[in-house]
């Protein structure tokens, strides 16, 4: 604000200088009389003409006035700075700020105050200059000038002096010569000169100074009032776009399915496969697929022609390895349909890339995409198998192999799980809640998790081989040293964590407990206990390990007020959630990775909107939460009770 005040004062001074120069020039007539009418017209009319032209410009080209001023003025300032300073950044900054200022109402008001101050200074100093000069020099005054006839000059003087009568009285305003024609001390000439001086001063005061002062004060007052009634701007945005539909929706074409719905040839084995839009960067295909004859790709008209020419009529099926993240559009549908027509037998559609899809899309979009593929398969009457070929578990691997061999899915689809072991695990958590109020303590938690692991260990497949080398090393960990274990998991698993999960507080919260659980589990369960966990379970643990270690090593200098260590209710919630998660994970052993994901997602749904572990105030709250968790997980898994 000081800058603005200074700028306004500067404008006032500049106006004063302009007024003094103009008045001085008009009073200097080389011995001749001052052309009073012309002088008044120039001194008063000039500023008004300027203001009038500016106003008309604003009115006439109103639509463009904002951008015009908004561009010219900032550009001018920017140019001046660039010329004087040579700093393009400063120049751009000044131009930007000026543009912002002009764009705002307060900026325009400030500009009006500046303009008013300039002309007020101009008028005031003009009056002072008249008095100053005429005090030193006896000037002559007349009506006419070189460009103004005497009669017109007289008329102007008469008209302009009429409203000034209350100030001037009834002046004669006759022409008066300067010395030597009229003596400087001639009383008559002196009186006439005084009348002319008063006329000019009053004219400037009434016709210019007073209106300008009034205008300036009004603008300043309006600015003050606007500030006093200031509210943040929440203007409704003017619409800068419009929408219109050019034509009606086109109905999607019908495609005649090659096979009647229901006849899916599920018992027929596959002896060959093709890839459908599967990217070259996808993981290598597993042996179950590469053991089949490779018919190449189905992604261009040439490759389609090649596949169809090779395929001939066969009694065995073809497996189509499609890419789940791709959209199952009409093109995909037509290609599958054409292949089906060529073979005369329904193919097996293997949907690969589930992990990629889940990593890059939200759960809702991933679910929609999967549904779209299933709908397409259903409409074409073909069998579909979602199978993430890069992250096969023992179950999904054998399921894939079985389907390719023509073994009906009903022999593979597990029936809803018996919740017995889950109930036993939750009972352990319940007992710990009653027995040790210090459940949030790591040692108590480890004991609890060990017990849960023992319950499930009987079901573990000891002969399974790990799909993650790092997972097989877990049994080497020292369960008494969870911190080291967490560090190891972090180092090995962090890079595997999908991007989407990195930002999900819920997973990280669970992972913290999983890290501890993994260490505890290593003591009682074989590595196989972790084999069928999706990669992110372990890597989530890694991230959370960092969180946990970080929590344990907060610098002592951290202000206590800012300590983010969770409260007792949050710690109890975190521990119960972790123990329940581990229980669910082990209960889900052998399931497909997508089923485990779904179970954990359901568990997470129980948390608040902030996706943090639940806050459980006491044992009762924890038990209620466990009951709800059990119901959610079991219901989602088929509801066997």
């Amino acid at each position: 604000m000081a800058g603005a005040t200074l700028s306004i004062l500067m404008l006032g001074v500049l106006g004063g200088i302009a007024g003094a120069s103009a008045t001085g020039e008009l009073l200097s007539q080389d011995g001749g009389p001052v052309h009073a009418a012309a002088m008044l017209m120039i001194l008063v009319g000039g500023p008004w003409c300027f203001i009038l032209i500016r106003t008309m410009l604003l009115l006439v080209i109103r639509k463009r006035s904002g951008p015009l001023l908004g561009r010219l003025v900032p550009a001018g300032f920017g140019w001046m700075i660039a010329r004087s300073n040579g700093d393009p950044d400063l120049s751009a900054a000044v131009a930007g700020r000026t543009a912002s200022m002009l764009a705002a109402g307060s900026g325009r008001r400030l500009a009006a105050v500046g303009s008013g101050t300039f002309w007020s200074g101009y008028a005031f100093i003009s009056i002072i200059t008249i008095w100053f000069v005429t005090a030193r020099v006896a000037l002559g005054f007349g009506w006419e000038s070189s460009w103004l006839p005497a009669e017109l000059g007289k008329t102007i003087v008469e008209i302009t002096s009429a409203p000034l009568t209350p100030i001037l009285g009834s002046p004669t305003l006759e022409p008066v010569a300067g010395p030597p024609i009229a003596a400087a001390d001639d009383p008559q000439a002196l009186a006439t000169r005084r009348e002319w001086i008063l006329f000019l001063s009053a004219g400037l005061g009434v016709y210019l100074l007073l209106p300008m002062l009034l205008w300036t004060m009004l603008q300043a007052a309006a600015g003050h009032l606007a500030a006093a009634h200031w509210r943040p701007r929440v203007r409704s945005r003017s619409q800068t776009s419009r929408i219109h539909r050019i034509e009606e929706d086109i109905a999607p074409p019908e495609i005649d399915p090659a096979a009647p719905a229901g006849d899916r040839n599920m018992g027929v084995p596959c002896d060959r496969f093709v890839r459908l839009d599967r990217p070259g960067t996808a993981s290598p295909l597993p042996p179950a697929i590469t053991d089949l004859e490779d018919f190449g790709h189905l992604d261009s008209r040439e490759s389609m022609a090649t596949v169809i020419s090779r395929i001939g009529s066969t009694s065995q099926r073809i497996a189509i390895v499609a890419w789940l993240p791709a959209t199952p559009d009409r093109g995909v549908r037509r290609r599958i349909n054409e292949l089906q027509k060529a073979t005369g037998i329904t193919p097996l559609l293997v949907l690969d890339g589930g992990e990629t899809l889940r990593r890059r899309e939200s759960p809702a979009i991933a679910a929609t995409r999967l549904t779209d593929w299933r709908t397409l398969a259903s409409e074409l009457g073909i069998e579909v198998l979602e199978c993430d070929l890069a992250n096969l578990t023992e179950t999904s691997r054998s399921n894939l192999a079985g389907r390719l061999k023509g073994i009906a899915p009903s022999d593979f689809e597990p029936s809803p799980r018996d919740p017995k072991t889950l109930d036993e695990s939750f009972a352990v958590i319940g007992r710990q809640l009653s027995a040790t109020p210090s459940l949030p303590d790591d040692q108590a938690l480890a004991t609890c998790l060990n017990e849960i692991a023992r319950i499930h260990s009987a079901r573990l497949d000891e002969s399974s081989q790990g799909w993650r080398a790092w997972g097989t090393r877990l049994h080497e960990l020292d369960p008494s040293n969870p911190a080291d274990g967490l560090k190891m998991i972090t180092t090995r698993g962090l890079e595997l964590l999908p991007g989407g999960l990195r930002s999900h507080a819920g997973w990280i919260g669970i992972g913290g407990i999983l890290g501890a659980a993994a260490c505890a589990a290593a003591a009682v369960a074989a590595p196989a206990a972790l084999v069928s966990l999706p990669a992110w379970a372990g890597t989530g643990a890694g991230v959370a390990g960092i969180l946990k270690i970080w929590r344990g090593t907060r610098p002592a200098s951290t202000p206590a007020a800012l300590d983010q260590t969770p409260g007792t209710d949050e710690r109890l919630g975190e521990a119960v959630l972790g123990a329940a998660t581990v229980s669910v994970l082990w209960w889900m052993q052998g399931e497909r990775e997508s089923a485990i994901s779904a179970a954990l997602s359901n568990l997470l749904q129980l948390q608040g909107a902030d996706a943090r572990p639940p806050r459980l105030a006491d044992e009762d709250a924890a038990r209620r939460w466990l009951v709800e968790a059990r119901r959610t997980v079991v219901d989602a898994n088929g509801g066997a009770d």
């Binding site: 604000m1 951008p67 900054a93 930007g96 700020r97 912002s100 764009a103 705002a104 307060s106 500030a227 006093a228 009634h229 200031w230 943040p232 701007r233 929440v234 203007r235 945005r237 619409q239 800068t240 776009s241 929408i243 219109h244 539909r245 050019i246 034509e247 009606e248 929706d249 086109i250 109905a251 074409p253 990217p279 070259g280 992604d299 261009s300 008209r301 490759s303 389609m304 993240p325 791709a326 959209t327 199952p328 559009d329 009409r330 093109g331 037509r334 290609r335 990629t356 990593r359 890059r360 899309e361 929609t368 995409r369 779209d372 991007g499 202000p559 007020a561 800012l562 983010q564 902030d610």
Partner: protein, 475 residues
Amino acid sequence: MSDSPQPLRIAVVGHANTGKTSLLQTLLRRRDFGIVSPTGGTTRSVTAGEILDEEEILAIILDTPGLEDSINLRNMIESSRTDRREDPRSLLDRFLASPAARDSNELAMEAASLEAAMNADVLLYAIDARDEPQPRHLDELAVLGMTARPLIPLLNFTARPEADADSWRDACARQGLHATVSFDAIVFDDAGEARLLDAIRTLAPARSDAIDAWRRLRESERTDAIAGASEVAADFLSDAAAAIIVTEPTSRDATDRERAFDAATATLLDGLLEHEARAMHRIADIFGFSGREADAALLEITDAMGGVDFADTASLERAGLWAAGTGTGLVAAGAIVDLAVGGISLGGFTALGAVGAAIGAIGGSGSKILRRLRGQDEVRIGETGLTLLHLRQRATIDAFLKRGHAAIEPARIETTVSETFTTRTDDESEKLLTEARGHPTWSRLSRPDEWRAGRHPRASLALRIATSLARHFDG
């Protein structure tokens, strides 16, 4: 007949689900344009979005159905070729006149897209940069090439970690398309939009005036939005900085006082949360979003400050003004009386004047003294908390500046306390906020009944803070 030129026509074309409609939503700043769905083939007709400056149409952008079956499309178009040298455009004309291109037929949607493309000045070929270039994309480019329209490959979703823009640039370059532009419809980037407009300008030089006007329009919208959002943020921050909650009068018992302090702290924090959420909604509205589109992490303010502060800026200012003005006058008057009575008073009047000056100086803090005597505390937000709120307001504005109108997931405002130690605020607003301290009547939080916006110093301060905040986003 009007001499004004036809508006620039841009057709957004590409495979299904590459974000064509999303792109239009962001370019038009309209969430209500079209339907965005993970299911392919949602757009089943050509829809136009117009960029308007006042009532003048600067450009028309056409959203087209996806080229879902480009293999079949290319096959059908090229199979009608009878002469190797035949003009590709006549092949397209022949295809468009064929039964396959008619409504409800096999390639009707592709035909609608091609027709829109043929009548456009520039084509934007939308690419989901997370996908790998596939032969079907080459088919699409080959068919679009037959329209003889300038084409800009537009890489969408480039802000996602899975995006592989380089592969696409390489693939497009192999097709002779070198003016590839990255523009994410979800994570908005001014520079990306400017690059896109530059590319369009290069390919449609005759329409450079319209593109320049479009660019200016967006720049002025951005400036206005930043100014408005900064004012809302400054208003909230002024409230937060000035807020003082006075605890209920209690006995001298420490537990009672602690309980009263906790209650006042809770009132303050609840008020802060409520006002912050309101400010967030208003900022969202300014940027053309709804308040539900911002999702702030839990506010971690735990450093409310207590105690009656006699040394806040406002109290010191009041005391200083008194001491420098009336107080000095009182002392001087006392000294004159002492001199007038010839020293008989032994300087008593001067001392009296000094006492008066001192009483006056602390008089402004009378209510504070009274509170102290009653055992009341004043609770206000601590410096760290204020910095956190400041950073969160900045983060909120930043989030909406970088949010495309096609974004679905709420913008996360994740600023945490730890960032207050590591992030420089870079502007003078922090300093300015201290000026609001000690003016509880400037805050809706502490005196909702007494609060009046019509306090010139508060308004002036808020405007200065807003200017300082806005400066952060300039450039």
